[in-house]
Amino acid sequence: MSPNVTVLPLSVQTRSDVARLVRELSEFDELIRQAGLRGTRVPSSNHLSVPLRATAEVFKIPLDNADARRKFSDRLKYLHKAAPQIHLSFAIQPPMHVVDSLLSWFRTNGHPATLVQIGVDPSIVVGCRVRTTNKVFDFSFAKLLDASTAVLQKEVRSL
């Protein structure tokens, strides 16, 4: 299984979200197993959370099928372990739609299973700082100011 062929919905953004999906899927399996033992009605997949259902829909997984659920759980576990993660730092906690936009960009242009982790750093002031596995990209105002120090010094010198 390769994460390159999977696409996560925007409702699944972080590695914790993936872990939550795995746990919810396991609980759902357990409910079905207990219902089978008791001989009661099997619970419907409509009671599951929206992110889990959306993810299953993206993966085209019939949640009523036990084998499909097991494969789905394996895929989710693999994603939890192997999906690339981007760390985004902002001056303040960003609203959800901003995170969605940025995550869409990463999943469209980079990797379709990209996960994010949001951090807050007031020294950024404006913009954000992106940290991939091996690199850091600073798009903050602080970085711009630091880069413009030579220009500022030149302006001060010309006074």
């Binding site: 990797h111 596995t133 010094q153 010198r157």
Partner: protein, 222 residues
């Protein structure tokens, strides 16, 4: 019997009275005698003192007179002796001095003859030595002056260099501090003032500009 006894008693009483009278008379006589002896001894002591004082005075006068006479004699003798001694010493000293002066004059004339040439040579050598010392001294003085000028020039260059470096350092520090102040002011001024929706376009633009590096790193990881 009774009369005899009475007579005997009377005789005894008379004898006692006679004895008492004799005792008193002897005691009176002894008292008078001792007074007389005491008076005589006082007179003798007084006379003795007077004689002693008289003798002492006479002896003193005689002694002084004798001492004075001896002193006169001794003085006359000393004067006579000293006159004779002076005359003898004067005669002997004059003779010896005359001899010494004569020999000294001869020696001096000989020394003058010998030393005039040596003195001329000495003056000449001193003049030569003096000129050589003066030349050496002048040379050393010139060398010291040149050295001092070089040191002064070097010191002045160093001071100028230090001043230039300090000016440059302070200007750089001022520029750095001003940049820091402006940056801090700008950060404080922009903090939380720009809507994050407005920032989103800027962030997406930056992502597009760095797309190759970001995507490359993501794909390398997977």
């Amino acid at each position: 019997m009774t009369t005899e006894y009475l007579l005997a008693v009377i005789l005894i009483v008379v004898a006692a009275i006679v004895c008492a009278g004799g005792f008193i008379a002897i005691y009176w006589a002894m008292t008078q005698n001792s007074k007389l002896i005491k008076k005589q001894s006082e007179i003798i002591d007084d006379a003795k003192h007077r004689v002693q004082a008289d003798l002492h005075k006479k002896a003193t006068d005689k002694f002084e007179q004798t001492v004075e006479q001896n002193a006169q004699y001794l003085k006359k003798d000393i004067q006579t002796t000293s006159k004779a001694l002076n005359a003898y010493v004067k005669t002997e000293f004059d003779g010896a001095l005359h001899n010494e002066l004569t020999s000294f004059k001869e020696s001096a004339s000989e020394i003058g003859k010998v030393s005039s040439e040596a003195l001329a040579n000495l003056q000449e050598s001193i003049a030569k030595e003096q000129s050589a010392v003066l030349a050496t001294f002048k040379k050393e003085q010139d060398a010291i002056l040149d050295d001092l000028r070089a040191q002064h020039q070097e010191l002045a260059d160093k001071v100028n260099q230090l001043v230039d470096e300090e000016v440059k350092r302070r200007i750089e520090r001022f520029e750095t501090e001003m940049s820091r102040i402006v940056s801090a002011y700008a950060r404080q001024a922009f903090a939380n003032r720009i809507d994050i929706d407005v920032q989103l376009a800027y962030i997406l633009e930056e992502l597009e500009q760095n797309k190759q590096a970001i995507v490359g790193d993501l794909r390398n990881v997977t």
